[in-house]
């Protein structure tokens, strides 16, 4: 029998396990295929997929024998991570049946992520499915679940604002700069100070297409950062000159007094002829004198401003997450419904075949033992047996087709179990859509991994 009751997921995530445990379980992408083949070789497992990000490691599987499969999977994970099964146990979570599918939908929709709404996860789930397809361990049921998960995730992203607004300080800063300049192509970013924060911020800016210039009180450190980021160095003594050619300034020195004073910025702005200049001050104590913001064409954001925006976006996301959860619930309901519907036809066929064959063989046995019967009588008996079978089947058949019971074991599953039916027809999702997932919107790339 094939049904959603066979879907299981077992894994660890940032909610249940510290990174020390997660990192042990991590499987490198090039080893996933081999690992999957091992998993499907385990007893009771027919299909498998492995989702591996830095926040979670999860095995999705279709199991004919749930208990055996879970036991085998658990010890397999423990062996792979070379830890004792008992040690791993408290971090593991297990979901099965529609709950497993629900979990997959939530994960793909980024509702289970550390940063709710982060855009990478959908691509990672997509890779998970692709790898499972490539290694031949994804079968009809997982295909169905995954392709529906992609649809749900896309719908969540389309209908809610869950992934729209940035929630980290650096991405807020990048978005703000984009609000002034439209884009980073050909923009000059000046990094004032070469400390740890500069390093982090520069890395966030690196992929955006801007040219980086570093200036620092100690030229050696500036040089170091510039080399690492592929930028160049400007003399600290000529801050005005550096400001005059920059579009975006990122300040994070350890200085006690503002480095960019109003007078200095005003002088630079004169050289710039009023071209807009965006100052991002992430230093504490601040590097940019606040009154700089009063100068024409100067836009200033300090760490508090950025954090305020980021936290308001986080609140916003929480609100959107509720709406997203209800979309996921609704889609799950529809999915189960359609899955069941798709099962009815093949189950009816299998049930009929089982019962009618049985009636026929028994009747044949009977008439074969009675050679004295006339041909007409023999046929009458055979017909009689078949018609009883048909009459008996009529009720259950109609009930199966009409079954819309929301809760409990669906009739389809019950019948499959009662008669020990194997429904061989492939369960294909006609609505399954191929094609690539939409890439995360530029500027929303957050480290999540």
């Amino acid at each position: 029998m094939e049904s959603l009751t066979d879907v299981i997921v077992l894994g660890v995530s940032h909610r249940t396990a510290p990174v020390a445990v997660r990192e042990k379980l991590t499987v490198a992408e090039e080893q996933v295929e081999a690992a999957l083949r091992q998993v499907v070789a385990l007893p009771g497992i027919r299909e498998a997929a492995l989702l591996c990000t830095c926040n979670r490691v999860e095995v999705y599987a279709v199991a004919s024998d749930r208990e055996a499969a879970l036991r085998a999977l658990g010890s397999d994970l423990a062996v792979r991570a070379s830890v004792a099964a008992a040690e791993l146990e408290p971090h593991l979570y297990v979901r099965s049946d529609s709950e497993a599918v629900h979990h997959l939908f939530r994960v793909a929709s980024s509702l289970d992520s550390l940063v709710v709404g982060e855009p990478q996860i959908l691509g990672q789930v997509k890779t998970t499915h692709d790898l499972a397809l490539k290694s031949g361990t994804a079968g009809p049921i997982l295909n169905l679940c995954f392709s529906r998960a992609f649809r749900v995730a896309r719908r969540v992203r389309r209908e809610t604002a869950i992934a729209r607004n940035p929630v980290s300080v650096s991405s807020v800063a990048i978005d703000l700069a984009r609000q002034v300049f439209g884009g980073f192509d050909g923009r000059r970013v000046l990094i004032v100070g070469a400390g740890k924060m500069s390093d982090l911020a520069a890395r966030a800016l690196q992929g955006q297409g801007a040219t980086l210039t570093v200036t620092n009180r100690t030229p050696g450190r500036a040089q170091e950062l510039a080399v690492r980021m592929g930028g160049d160095v400007h003399a600290w003594e000529d801050l005005v000159g550096a400001l005059a050619t920059a579009d975006i300034v990122l300040a994070s020195t350890g200085a006690r007094e503002p480095v960019l004073t109003r007078a200095l910025v005003a002088r630079a702005q004169k050289l710039r002829r009023g071209r807009p200049l965006f100052l991002i001050d992430i230093a504490v104590p601040r590097d940019v004198e606040p009154s700089c913001a009063e100068l024409p064409g100067i836009y200033l954001a300090d760490i508090d401003d950025l954090q305020k925006v980021a936290s308001s976006h986080r609140d916003g996301r929480r609100g959107e997450a509720e709406q997203a959860e209800s979309i996921v619930e609704q889609e799950l309901g529809r999915f189960i419904e359609s899955f069941r519907g798709r099962q009815v036809g093949p189950t009816v066929v299998a049930l009929r075949a089982r019962v009618i064959t049985l009636a026929k063989t028994e009747a044949e046995k009977l008439v074969n033992g009675m050679p004295h019967l006339a041909e007409r009588d023999r046929r009458a008996i055979l017909n009689f047996a078949e018609s009883i079978a048909n009459k008996l089947l009529h009720g259950p058949q109609m009930a199966l087709k009409k079954d819309t019971s929301g809760d409990g074991v669906p009739l389809v599953t019950a019948v499959q179990r009662l008669f020990d039916l194997t429904v061989v027809e492939a369960v294909e999702d006609p609505a399954a859509d191929a094609g690539n997932e939409g890439e995360p919107a530029a500027g929303q790339k957050k480290a999540s991994g």
Binding site: R164, N165, P166, V172, D175, L176, R178, Q179, V180, F181, G182, G183, R273, G274, R275, P276, A293, E294, P296, G297, Y299, L300, A301, D305, L306, K308, V309, S312, H313, G316
Partner: protein, 264 residues
């Protein structure tokens, strides 16, 4: 029964309301719907103008018609730009401007057939109409620039990001493009206008009587200065936006004086 123009006015009114609603804090859907309705308005408007052209009627032969044509150009121009840039907020200015023009056009009486219109007159009115429409778009963008600049200055960052407005630079660049596109048109309009008036024998000795001539020249100078300053001195941003608004104000004054005279 509502006339075709009244239907257009109604449609533009709905579009304006939707865009304004978006600006005042409704969801993005409001702006998207607004654009859809605006597109409908432009379509109707186009059909209207097209029908008149088929009947061999110059779409700018009378003042109200010229105003309607300006409105159409503004609406169509904004609509086209809004597909490429995130200009939803600008809709809250462009759509009402279109609406106001159409309503005004209904109120302004058609002048009883200016006798000596001629090719020159028609060319003048047509070009002036197009020029004013393009300048209006530039002014809308300038207003938006000034608003956004203010919000950035006041650190209303969250609002800007949430709304996904066009960037300052985009607004500035688009406005500049509008001005450099509209300026030559306006220049030719000015010259043909002067020639036309001269031919009618109304130019000399009547300048004092007709301040709109001077205003028109002042407007032309304002936009000229803006262009030169942008290209030559690298002017941009707030100053450019204010100058654009100044020029636009001049152009509007010309129209107002013109209409007052004709209404009188």
């Amino acid at each position: 029964m509502a006339t075709f123009t009244e239907i257009q006015i109604g449609v533009y009114a709905i579009a304006s309301a939707l865009y304004l609603g978006y600006l005042l804090g409704f969801r993005e859907r409001s702006a998207r719907l607004g654009r859809l309705v605006l597109a409908l308005g432009v379509l109707l408007h186009f059909a209207d103008i097209g029908a008149r052209c088929i009947h061999r009627q110059n779409p700018v032969s009378s003042t109200p018609e010229a105003m309607g044509f300006v409105a159409f150009l503004i609406a169509a121009g904004f609509l086209a730009a809004s597909f490429r840039y995130r200009l939803a907020a600008a809709g809250a200015f462009a759509a009402p401007a279109v609406l106001a023009l159409l309503v005004l056009a209904r109120v302004v009486p058609a002048e009883p057939g200016t006798p000596a219109m001629g090719t020159l007159g028609r060319t003048h009115i047509f070009l002036a109409t197009v020029g004013v429409a393009v300048f209006t778009l530039a002014a809308v963008l300038a207003v938006l620039y000034l608003i956004e600049d203010r919000q950035l200055k006041r650190k209303r960052f969250g609002l800007l990001i949430d709304r996904g407005a066009a960037s300052l630079e985009t607004l500035d660049r688009l406005a500049a493009r509008c001005v450099s596109f509209g300026f030559p048109i306006f220049t030719v309009a000015l010259v043909t206008g002067a020639l036309w008036i001269a031919r009618l024998g109304l130019l000399w000795g009547s300048v004092a009587m007709r301040p709109e001539y001077l205003l028109a020249v002042a407007t032309w100078i304002a936009f000229g200065v803006l262009l030169v300053a942008r290209v030559g001195a690298g002017w941009q941003g707030r100053r450019a936006a204010w100058l654009t608004l100044g020029g636009f104000g001049g152009a509007m004054l010309v129209l107002v004086v013109y209409f007052l005279r004709h209404a009188a």
